[in-house]
């Protein structure tokens, strides 16, 4: 039940974000969810404790333009979205090339719904674990 949501697409994203910055909004964060057939990218801005959201529906395998030239604070979260979801974000101010938060041997794009990273920590004390549990 988010109020104040505006739908954008990749072509007018830059113009909308610039307009919000001119009014004095502060960048809060970005959120990305995996919807199966695409991604739901939300941008959240704040002015005087009131939130405004921009919703962008991104189809699979399409690049996302970066807003780090308008809001430098967005560069960290865009790198994280590139790591976690495998989305190609273009034009970031600092580019970590997919290794911002994840180590070299971590699974690629772990937050996608199809990637099954096991979190069930049911270690049975009677069996000896071989090579550690993948939890």
């Amino acid at each position: 039940m988010l109020t104040n949501v505006t739908e954008v697409n990749p072509s007018n994203l830059h113009a909308e974000v610039f307009a919000l910055q001119r009014k004095g909004h502060r960048f809060v964060t970005m959120t990305c969810s995996d919807l199966g057939d695409g991604f739901d990218v939300l941008y959240h801005f704040d002015l005087n404790y009131e939130l405004r959201h921009l919703r962008l529906r991104l189809p699979l395998k399409e690049p996302l333009p970066s807003i780090s030239d308008v809001f430098f604070a967005a560069v960290l979260i865009e790198n994280e979205i590139k790591d976690m979801f495998g989305i190609d974000v273009q034009g970031m101010a600092i580019d970590y090339k997919g290794r911002f938060l994840l180590a070299e041997d971590a699974p690629r794009a772990p937050l996608l719904k199809t990637v099954g990273v096991p979190v069930d920590a049911r270690i049975r004390p009677k069996q000896a674990p071989e090579g550690g549990q993948a939890s």
Binding site: M1, T31, H44, I77, F100, L101
Partner: protein, 359 residues
């Protein structure tokens, strides 16, 4: 042209409570640029939350951070209560405020002690942490555990504070205030402390707004931003004023935290005196369906949670934006142009909580 060298600051450093690496590009003792390298503390909390059901997730969100843990579970519970339309009873809201403000006092005393340690004042560090033990003893008496309280639940709180414990809280707060009266002026008025912190790491007001600073970093630069004034939980019925300083340097931020300790002790006193009678837990039925964004004031700034439920007992998406994440770009700006010996003081002054940042 002078030579440039790259020095790694961290991930292991005596001044950092948690591991982060900053690659500092130096030109003869003056920092020209700084690049962060995160990832030492990443545990994949957002994926864990999707695998467990939404009642067990209260315990997962509590364990994101070891310093500010009650605020995370409170924010999560408030978000789920907004989605499901659950009304929290009045006594539970006041109890949440009491524990949240005690957590704020303990977190500020921790970081003030680390600030004193960052320029070698170890005696003051130990004295501040000794005062912090009074708060941890209070939390153990009221909830059963020192830091990870496990008392917040969806619909209220799980444990009550009876009247004799309320009287005990007031007595211990008096002892704490007497101890802090002797110790805190040493941090604020000492000549050598001022020499190390005044004029170091200056963040002007417009840059703070543009880079998205939150919490004491923003309040130390003159921006009046405190989420407790929006009146969530029982803050609408308590009286307090957000504390703002205009210096913009490390000294102003430390001063903001020192004054907030006293203000939080007064808030706990008000909340204990105004504690109403009634139930502490509202019944919750069904599963969350909808999305919301909930924000509260954590000791380090504005904590924003985005929660999306789809009608099953597992959440669809949980996104946590921590205040240190928002304070990292101002940190990179503050580090350009400073001396190498000032880097620990600046990093500690933004109150880094990296395990929160990387979840």
């Amino acid at each position: 042209m002078s030579r440039r060298s790259i020095i790694p600051f961290g991930p292991q450093h005596p001044v950092l409570p948690e591991p982060v690496q900053l690659r500092l590009i130096l030109e003869d003792e003056k920092v020209v640029e700084a690049l962060p390298a995160l990832g030492y503390c990443h545990r994949g909390v957002e994926k864990i939350v999707e695998k467990k059901d939404f009642v067990q997730d209260v315990y997962v969100t509590e364990r994101i951070c070891g310093i500010c843990s009650f605020m995370h579970s409170m924010n999560y519970c408030q978000g789920i209560e907004t989605i499901m339309g659950v009304e929290v009873p009045a006594r539970a809201r006041f109890l949440r405020v009491i524990w949240a403000e005690l957590h704020r006092v303990h977190s500020h005393l921790l970081i003030l002690g680390l600030t004193a340690d960052s320029f070698g004042f170890e005696n003051l560090f130990m004295q501040l942490w000794r005062a912090r033990e009074i708060i941890l003893g209070l939390m153990e008496k009221t909830t059963g555990s020192r830091i990870l309280l496990s008392t917040c639940a969806i619909g209220g709180v799980r444990r009550d504070i009876p009247a004799d414990l309320c009287a005990e809280i007031m007595r211990q707060l008096d002892t704490l205030e007497k101890q802090l009266e002797e110790v805190l002026p040493a941090l604020v008025k000492d000549y050598s402390v001022k020499k190390r912190m005044c004029g170091v790491g200056v963040l002007p007001r417009d840059k703070a707004h543009e880079l998205g600073a939150v919490g004491p970093v923003a309040r130390g630069s003159g921006i009046k931003m405190d989420f407790r004034t929006t009146g969530y939980a029982a803050y609408g019925e308590l009286e307090f004023e957000p504390i703002v300083e205009t210096g913009g340097d490390c000294y102003a931020r430390t001063l903001v935290r020192v004054r907030e300790v006293t203000a939080s002790i007064n808030l706990v006193r008000q909340a204990v005196q105004k504690l109403p009678e009634g139930p502490i837990l509202a019944p919750v039925k069904g599963n969350p369906n909808g999305e919301t964004m909930n924000r509260i004031e954590q000791p380090r700034g504005e904590l924003a949670f985005y929660i999306k439920g789809n009608g099953t007992k597992n959440l669809e998406r949980f996104r946590a934006r921590m205040p240190t994440y928002a304070n990292l770009p101002p940190l990179l700006h503050m580090l350009t142009g400073c001396q190498l010996a000032d880097v620990p003081v600046i990093v500690i002054a933004i109150d880094p909580c990296i395990s929160c940042t990387e979840r």
